[in-house]
């Protein structure tokens, strides 16, 4: 057991203080740029935090001679996060990535005290002189997935395991449903919220309930591979989230929506190195490589793969938008008129379902 694992195992519950004494090496007297990363989960989650850590490793690989990196995992959102970020800032880190929405206010507080340190906050909307924000347009990948499901479903019912009814997830459901019904107007989407990002047991129960109600494809916006396993057990299809989950259901895994931060992280570290860093907001889609799809299941028919690739290509080149008017809400009212696409603000605040989704968005 090394010091890092000690820090890691304690951190989740014992709070950040423990990790700070064991997880972060003391400031070293060399002139390499020190870059810090703060993760909300364990890097072993093979999902959200894992993907961010892949980005860190990409930075080390690309710029290892000019930078050193440090990470702290399992950092609870809230007051503990502030201590972790503060510790990183005051131990000589000049660029710090805080990779979860709940780190927003702690990041800004610490940034105020350390004007010489640059911060990058993922999925947030508050910026400052030295705080940039970044996120992925994951809904774009859901458009591609929606088209695949439209072709693959036989029962015309898609089960959707949701985490929390926040705009990011609701927007994903809408983008998915629009593409689904473009291919298959008879298909409908049923949503079950588990009110958790990560609870394998509950995610499996939700997937089972949806399957029992006739769904033959399970799409998830939660982080554990349990829905994939459940679909495999029942001999049905599923779509993974955050990272490639094929091994949990080689026969059920259609593809997965993969977050890829590697390119962005390398670019931003380079920008700090050459002095061109600015506190900008980046919302990258499939064209930037920030949002990717895992390899398609070999059992998907060739014409469906071709269709998926074509739609992906159209999104990358900007020929297609996930929310291309006319888009109607559940009451049949046109929200996005013909010839228009949804504005970023509309997407960021989405709290309504499009036609084809069953039920109402919980308020």
């Amino acid at each position: 057991m090394n010091r890092r694992t000690m820090g890691k195992t304690m951190l989740g519950l014992a709070g950040a203080a423990v990790a700070l004494s064991s997880g972060i090496p003391l400031a070293m007297a060399d002139d390499k740029l020190k870059v810090g990363f703060v993760y909300v989960g364990p890097i072993s989650d093979h999902g959200y935090s894992y993907q961010h850590d892949q980005g860190r490793l990409a930075v080390e690989k690309a710029l290892g001679d000019k930078v050193t990196t440090t990470f702290v995992e399992n950092v609870p959102e809230g007051a503990d996060a502030e201590r972790v970020i503060e510790q990183l800032a005051s131990s000589g880190h000049k660029l710090i990535f805080t990779t979860s929405f709940g780190f927003m206010n702690p990041t800004l507080k610490v940034a105020k005290r350390h004007p010489d340190v640059k911060f990058e906050h993922a999925t947030g909307y508050k910026r400052a002189e030295n705080v940039a924000t970044y996120s992925g347009r994951f809904y774009e990948a859901r458009t591609v997935v929606g088209a695949i499901c439209g072709k693959m479903t036989k029962s015309n019912i898609i089960g959707y395991v949701g985490s929390y009814p926040i705009p990011e997830v609701v927007g994903g459901i809408n983008a998915f449903t629009l593409a689904l019904r473009e291919q298959n107007p008879k298909a409908e989407v049923r949503v079950v919220w588990v009110n958790s990002w990560y609870d394998p047991g509950k995610e499996a129960e939700a997937a089972k309930a949806l399957i029992d109600q006739g769904a033959d494809i399970i799409v998830q916006h939660t982080d554990s591979p349990a829905p994939i396993q459940t679909a495999q057990e029942r001999g049905l299809w599923a779509v993974g989230q955050s990272s490639d989950m094929t091994r949990f259901g080689p026969k059920s895994h259609l593809t997965a929506i993969v977050e890829d931060w590697n390119g962005y992280y390398v670019d931003r570290v380079k920008a700090v190195l050459d002095g061109s860093w600015k506190p900008i907001d980046t919302w990258g889609g499939m064209s930037t490589g920030m949002v990717e799809l895992a390899p398609y299941n070999p059992a998907i028919p060739e014409d469906v793969v071709k269709l998926a690739e074509q739609i992906k290509g159209e999104i990358v080149t900007g020929k297609r938008h996930s929310f291309q008017g006319p888009v109607k809400d559940q009451s049949g009212k046109v929200v996005i008129p013909e010839g228009k696409t949804a504005t970023d603000e509309q997407i960021l605040k989405m709290d309504w379902y499009v036609e084809g989704v069953q039920g109402k968005v919980p308020k």
């Binding site: 057991m1 694992t5 890691k8 195992t9 304690m10 989740g12 519950l13 014992a14 364990p42 072993s44 989650d45 093979h46 089960g159 009814p165 049923r190 949503v191 079950v192 919220w193 588990v194 009110n195 958790s196 990560y198 609870d199 394998p200 047991g201 509950k202 995610e203 499996a204 129960e205 939700a206 089972k208 309930a209 949806l210 029992d212 109600q213 006739g214 769904a215 554990s224 591979p225 349990a226 396993q229 057990e233 091994r247 949990f248 259901g249 069953q358 039920g359 109402k360 919980p362 308020k363």
Partner: protein, 309 residues
């Protein structure tokens, strides 16, 4: 799918969802009946979950995995026993520490096992019976652990209320000084009870990691240990009521997911709360007699025992 078929699948899912709670709560019930309060259920479940999973992956034998899971849970609880029974540490604080410890230890052991898939346990299949409408899958289509957990309910009841050993264990839990004066080995009895509680929690955890969602993930019990603890209290330390509570909790959990899937317009946050509300409400109502609660609650619960005192 027809409504009857959905009802059948809700029933089947209910028994499965209740199983980890039933294991952990029955174990804790025996522990508390001996006068010891072990709040470390969540930690012991996690250690059992990771050890059962790891051993099954390594040996390919689920039976070995289950045995090791029970042993690992018991081993974790022996730490608690050592601290509270023999070193007279505070039970509440030690139990909480055991949960923290179990979370960390299981994460450490599990490091090499994240992202490894596993086949679940085989399900029972009796031609004719398993295919019965509505109840077939629920009663005759589960796996061995589900039946084991249910079988443990009458066994624990028989042990506690119809065996000499159970009587002694309850006596120790009611008044350890008197039991000691009568010549019973209070510490040894409590030690065995704590080990049993640990083994049952370990099995409950292993059900999750080896069968329910066959994989290892940090903190995968997601608070089920705490629910089990609450079940014991709300069920006023009665095995049958613990089972009722576990089924109720499991059933409402599954039901609310179905209600959501059908598009019924109830806020999902409220529905997520429902299993807790319904279980607490029903158990409090059926055991609202204060005198009976006093009768059932072990009088020495949580009190330290020192033979010389």
């Amino acid at each position: 799918m027809s409504d009857l078929a959905i009802l059948g699948s809700i029933l089947a899912a209910m028994f499965a969802a209740a199983t980890p709670l039933l294991f952990a709560a029955l174990g804790e019930l025996v522990v508390e009946k001996s006068g010891v309060l072990n709040l470390g259920v969540e930690g012991m479940m996690l250690v059992g979950a990771v050890c059962g999973f790891a051993v099954t992956v390594q040996t390919g034998s689920a039976t070995t995995g289950l045995v090791v899971a029970a042993l690992a849970g018991a081993a974790t609880s022996s730490l608690f026993a050592l601290l509270t029974l023999f070193l007279l540490a505070n039970q509440v604080a030690t139990g909480l520490a055991l949960t923290l410890f179990g979370v960390g230890l299981s994460a450490l052991i599990g490091q090499g096992f994240v992202g490894i898939p596993l086949e679940g346990l085989p399900k029972l299949n009796i031609p004719g019976l398993t295919d019965l409408p509505v109840v077939g899958q629920a009663l005759f289509g589960q796996d061995i652990l589900v039946y084991l957990a249910i079988a443990a309910v009458p066994l624990v009841h028989l042990f506690l209320y119809h065996s000499r050993a159970g009587l002694v264990l309850r006596a120790v839990g009611e008044n350890h000084t008197a039991a000691h004066a009568l010549g019973y080995k209070v510490l040894r009895i409590r030690f065995l009870a704590v080990l049993f509680g640990g083994a049952m929690a370990g099995l409950g955890g292993a059900f999750l990691s080896m069968d329910y969602t066959p994989m290892w993930a940090e903190n995968m019990t997601s608070g089920r240990g705490w629910i089990a603890l609450a079940l014991v209290v709300f069920a006023t330390w009665k095995p049958a009521r613990v089972m009722l509570g576990a089924w109720l909790f499991g059933g409402v959990t599954i039901l609310q997911l179905h209600v959501q899937g059908m598009g019924v317009e109830v806020p999902s946050q409220l529905l997520s709360m429902l299993p807790y509300l319904a279980t607490v409400l029903v158990l409090v109502l059926i055991s609202r007699d204060v005198a009976r609660i006093r009768l059932n609650a072990p009088a020495s619960l949580g009190k330290l025992f020192h033979p010389d005192a």
